[in-house]
């Protein structure tokens, strides 16, 4: 039982990261029906930016621990800066790569998204080199044990931050004016603009928020694993996209559910079947669910087309 709970914790921690990235996919898809393949790379870029910001603050990967409020302050500063920068990059990507193609055939923005993904990977590859790079794990990492199950601060951090972000996002979408504008634009772009909603600004905000969440995911993934690599976004992006589809693309609660589910399925497969079968099991479940429930677990939320 203890081992099951332990794997559940592992799964939730990994799933939280998938969920955070999946939110970006699902928000963008919900509003412009574009699978933003560059999103996974924005996530990795988030990790890279965190490393750069930490270096500016004088924190290197030497294993130094900054305890107390100083550590918390640095973490907060880094995560906020990385989220803002990633958000801005997301907006720039939308402005220069996708906006003009919004009414083009769907294949065009899709190919463009793949192009942007390569572009970001190329930039990161030339920036830090094509190998694993260390992420400074500067926060102390006490372990809390109860009943044979142990959870350390990093895992706790991953879970708390991802849940906090999702709750905030849910609140934002349903209780603010901008959130309302997003939902309106997702439902019917033309009608929304007739109602006086600036659709371009709304879409830009969607990209900003999605990318900022990816930046946060980049920080917690770096803290959790202690390393990152320029190609990580590809795998993580693929899994997160799967999570979004699993939960019902365009559906924010669905993305979270899908993310946690995939993380947990991965951990359980590694425990009870074999580590090398995790991808097979994850994607088999995806196929099954799409066959039985084509609109995902919680249903798609897409603009209605006449």
């Amino acid at each position: 039982m203890a081992i099951f709970l332990q794997q559940l914790i592992n799964g939730i921690a990994q799933g939280g990261m998938y969920a955070l990235i999946a939110l970006g996919y699902t928000m963008v898809y919900g509003i412009v029906e574009l699978i933003n393949f560059a999103h996974g790379d924005v996530f990795t870029l988030g990790s890279f930016l965190c490393i750069a910001i930490l270096a500016l603050l004088g924190v290197s990967a030497s294993g130094q621990i900054i305890a107390g409020w100083q550590g918390a302050l640095i973490a907060l500063l880094v995560v906020v800066l990385a989220a803002l920068l990633c958000g801005v990059i997301g907006v720039l990507i939308e402005r220069f790569a996708y906006r003009r193609l919004r009414n083009a055939p769907r294949l065009a923005p899709l190919i463009t998204a793949i192009g942007v993904s390569f572009l970001l990977q190329g930039v990161m590859r030339n920036w830090k080199g094509p190998s694993e790079i260390s992420f400074p794990q500067f926060l102390p990492n006490p372990t809390f044990a109860f009943g044979g199950v142990h959870i350390d601060l990093r895992e706790l951090l991953v879970v708390i931050v991802s849940i906090l972000m999702m709750v905030a996002l849910q609140f934002f979408i349903y209780n603010t004016k901008l959130g309302k504008a997003m939902r309106a634009s997702a439902q019917d772009r033309d009608a929304a603009s007739l109602m006086g909603i600036n659709v371009n600004t709304t879409i830009a905000w969607t990209f900003f928020i999605g990318s900022a969440l990816a930046g946060v995911a980049g920080f917690i993934s770096g803290m959790y694993f202690g390393t990152t690599m320029f190609t990580n976004g590809y795998q993580a992006g693929l899994k997160a996209f799967t999570a979004a589809v699993l939960g019902g693309i365009g559906n924010i609660a669905g993305a979270m559910l899908g993310g946690f589910l995939i993380g947990i399925v991965e951990a359980m497969t590694a425990q009870y079947i074999s580590d090398q079968w995790t991808n097979v099991v994850v994607f088999s479940i995806l196929v099954l669910i799409l066959v039985l429930r084509p609109s995902g677990l919680l249903g798609e939320q897409l603009p209605e087309k006449v």
Binding site: L119, R125, P130, T231, E266, A267, S274, D275
Partner: protein, 432 residues
């Protein structure tokens, strides 16, 4: 106007998409260009006396970028030093050697398809009479059939998978010229390396319960199986054997499963570029921080130390080669290497130096047999197959009928405070 803008943008993005590809090739060519420059600089000092004899190229195919660079680059330096010294000492009068260096890593990880491409481009250059490389066994799998069909000598400094030279797989790989082997290696194989490591860890570190993990590659799975078999034969218990997948980042679930079996050693078969350091880094998270971690030559590099960081302690590895510092014959080589590159040798620098030297000797013999004229690739191969009692910086050796070295030495290293420290070495010359 609008449409034109879209087209321009799409083209720009496609160009950007391609830039990743081109940056790879350009980076690999830039390494080859810079190393060609060093070798050119090396030769230019001697051409005045050599009066610019005919140029013979020796191809060097190793992974020299990304996670493999920390072990690949010092290996490449070994080969380049041999070429430089051959020119300075006029080992083959009337001829000047040149190292033609290519990178077989793609996105920072050794890549069999890239290796095969490199052999093809060496094959297309008539000046290339032999190749030093590759580093990784799965790359060798892709290259051996090509080198066999081109009859272009290929000498690996570090491939340790036994099936490359022995058994049905090896025969299948040289089907174009079954009797004319073109692939040789100067290090010993995993059927010796795996058991040697297992014996050390079982008897000297007193570990009894092991969990084995490998990266599912030719080399990684091979050495892990050999290690596990030997460990069990000694009386140890294998609690489980798992394989990880390429590009995997999260090992927490796997490590939790491992921790639940309470091993006192975790063995990893694979490379630093395929997850060796990341697993060690995440072990403390699953409560495995104080468990011994062992591996083979694939993780005996600086990239491992960097990835594992503060967890790079209590780690033991084997290297399928002699520690050059222990051999009097290597003293001059170590001094020259330090002087040339201003850094200590890597685990396979001396092997690459030896591989290049044995190639140069074979070319020299072939020139002699050919009446002072440039030999063909077949003539060089014929000389290589006859290599007997070649005195080298890693000891005197011959090539057996399979192209394997008769020099069977395994050295063992331990990671102590972010450095690899030599522990011991053993000679298995008598073993089958």
């Amino acid at each position: 106007m609008h449409r034109r803008y879209i087209i321009a943008l799409t083209l720009a993005l496609i160009a950007a998409g391609c830039s990743q590809q081109s940056s790879q090739t350009s980076s690999s060519t830039s390494t080859s260009a810079s190393s060609a420059a060093t070798s050119a600089a090396a030769t230019s000092g001697t051409t005045s006396n050599a009066a610019g004899g005919t140029v013979i190229k020796i191809g060097v195919d190793l992974p020299v970028s990304g996670a493999d660079a920390s072990i690949g680059v010092p290996t490449q330096y070994g080969a380049q030093l041999a070429v430089k010294q051959a020119n300075e000492k006029h080992l083959v009068p009337g001829f000047t050697f040149e190292a033609d260096v290519l990178d077989d890593a793609v996105n920072g990880v050794h890549d069999p398809a890239q290796g095969a491409k490199n052999i093809q481009s060496f094959g297309a250059d008539p000046a290339v009479l032999g190749v030093v490389g590759p580093f990784n066994s799965n790359v060798a799998r892709a290259e051996i059939p090509l080198s066999n069909s081109l009859q272009l000598a290929l000498i690996s400094p570090s491939n340790t998978n036994p099936t490359l030279t022995k058994g049905p797989d090896a025969v299948a790989m040289r089907k174009d010229h079954p009797d004319q082997i073109a692939y040789f290696r100067v290090c010993t194989t995993d059927d010796i390396q795996g058991p040697a490591g297992a014996a050390y860890e079982y008897t000297k570190l007193h570990v009894k319960n092991a969990y084995v993990v490998d990266d599912n590659e030719t080399y990684g799975k091979g050495v892990a199986d050999q290690w596990e078999g030997a460990f069990k034969k000694l009386g140890g218990t294998s609690l489980g054997h798992d394989h990880i997948t390429k590009g995997q980042q999260d090992f927490h679930a796997l490590l939790t499963r491992i921790a639940n079996t309470h091993p006192d050693i975790v063995f990893f078969g694979g490379n630093s570029s395929t997850g060796g350091g990341l697993i060690r880094k995440q072990m403390p998270d699953a409560g495995l921080g104080s468990v011994i971690y062992a591996g083979a030559d694939g993780i005996s590099d600086n990239q491992f130390l960097q990835d594992a960081g503060s967890t790079a302690d209590n780690v033991y590895v084997t290297v399928a080669s002699v520690n050059a510092a222990k051999l009097p014959a290597a003293a001059q080589f170590l001094k020259d290497y330090q002087a040339e590159y201003n850094q200590p040798v890597g685990p396979y620098s001396a092997n690459a130096y030896t591989a290049a030297m044995v190639m140069i000797r074979a070319i020299g013999e072939a020139v002699k047999a050919n009446g002072g004229k440039a030999p063909t690739r077949e003539q060089v191969l014929a000389q290589l197959r006859m290599t007997k009692d070649f005195p080298s910086v890693i000891g005197t050796f011959s090539f057996d009928a399979n192209g394997d070295t008769t020099n069977r030495i395994i050295s063992i290293y331990e990671a102590v405070k972010g450095k690899w420290v030599f522990v011991t070495q053993q000679n298995f010359a008598g073993s089958p």
